[in-house]
């Protein structure tokens, strides 16, 4: 769901970045946050809430609301709306409060 044509804005072709989402290969573009790359792929559920296990996704996009916390490169509670996508990043859906010891 990327915008191809826009009356005001021009979106230049950017470098493709591949990464892993829940073990599967995925890709985004340079300048993407993890959340925007996942969104462009149609992934809306980014985490599950810590007490009631409710699905949560991108909400504020400024790192405020904790709805988009994911496990990135083994580390939990990463705010993916304000974390830039990096080549070969391993991104995983977080379903608990987060484990401090890396589990792959």
């Amino acid at each position: 769901m990327r915008i191809k044509e826009h009356p005001i804005l021009t979106f230049e072709e950017k470098k493709k970045l591949s990464f892993f989402f829940d073990g599967k290969e995925a890709y985004g573009y340079e300048g993407d946050t993890i959340a925007s790359a996942l969104h462009a792929m149609g992934v809306k559920v980014l985490s599950h809430s810590i007490e009631l296990n409710r699905p949560r996704g991108l909400y504020c996009a400024i790192g405020n609301c904790s709805s988009c916390n994911m496990i990135v490169d083994g580390k939990p509670n990463v705010r993916t709306c304000v974390t830039m996508l990096v080549e070969n990043m391993k991104v995983k859906t977080q379903v608990n409060k987060g484990d401090i010891y890396e589990k792959d």
Partner: protein, 160 residues
């Protein structure tokens, strides 16, 4: 009603249209009914035909003697609230409207004509499309509109 659905009433609309004698030539209609802090229409007019004054909250007043209907204010209005109208003959009126959507119409095409409530009311002919650097992405579309819709037509929607 303007305050409840964004549609100005007839009285408001007519208040901005000049005497018939002026409209035989292209004139700017400013559909800006609120006193908001804004004055680009006035400062951009090369003919000094739109008055706002020191207090930028004043609603614009068009001097139809001076207005040439050039259309510069149309793409300079941040609210896209200005258009140019001219009573061409007994059958048609000519409008110049701002347009910021894609795809742009192409000269010669027929598009739907839409009123202020967003309803399709007629067919209109695209006469000219201009989008220069100066216009900064706001295109100016010149359309031919059946004369009976001179007080209703406001924009275009989808090619027919």
């Amino acid at each position: 009603m303007l305050n409840t659905n964004g549609v100005p009433d007839k009285k408001q609309i007519f208040s901005r249209f000049p005497d018939k004698k002026y409209i035989l030539k292209p004139k700017a209609i400013t559909e800006c009914y609120e006193e908001i802090p804004c004055n680009p229409c006035s400062t951009s007019c090369p003919f000094d035909a739109i008055y706002i004054g020191e207090d930028i909250n004043t609603a614009p007043i068009v001097d139809f003697e001076k207005c040439t209907g050039c259309g510069i204010c149309v793409y300079n209005c941040p609210g896209l609230a200005i258009f140019i109208v001219q009573e061409l003959d007994n059958e048609n009126a000519r409008f110049k409207i701002p347009y910021e959507l894609i795809p742009l119409p192409i000269k010669g095409e027929t598009w739907s004509g839409v009123n202020r409530a967003g309803e399709v009311i007629t067919k209109v002919l695209i006469e000219k499309v201009s989008l220069t650097e100066k216009q900064d992405k706001t295109a100016l579309i010149q359309v031919l509109v059946p004369i009976e819709f001179i007080n209703d037509f406001i924009t275009i929607r989808s090619k027919l």
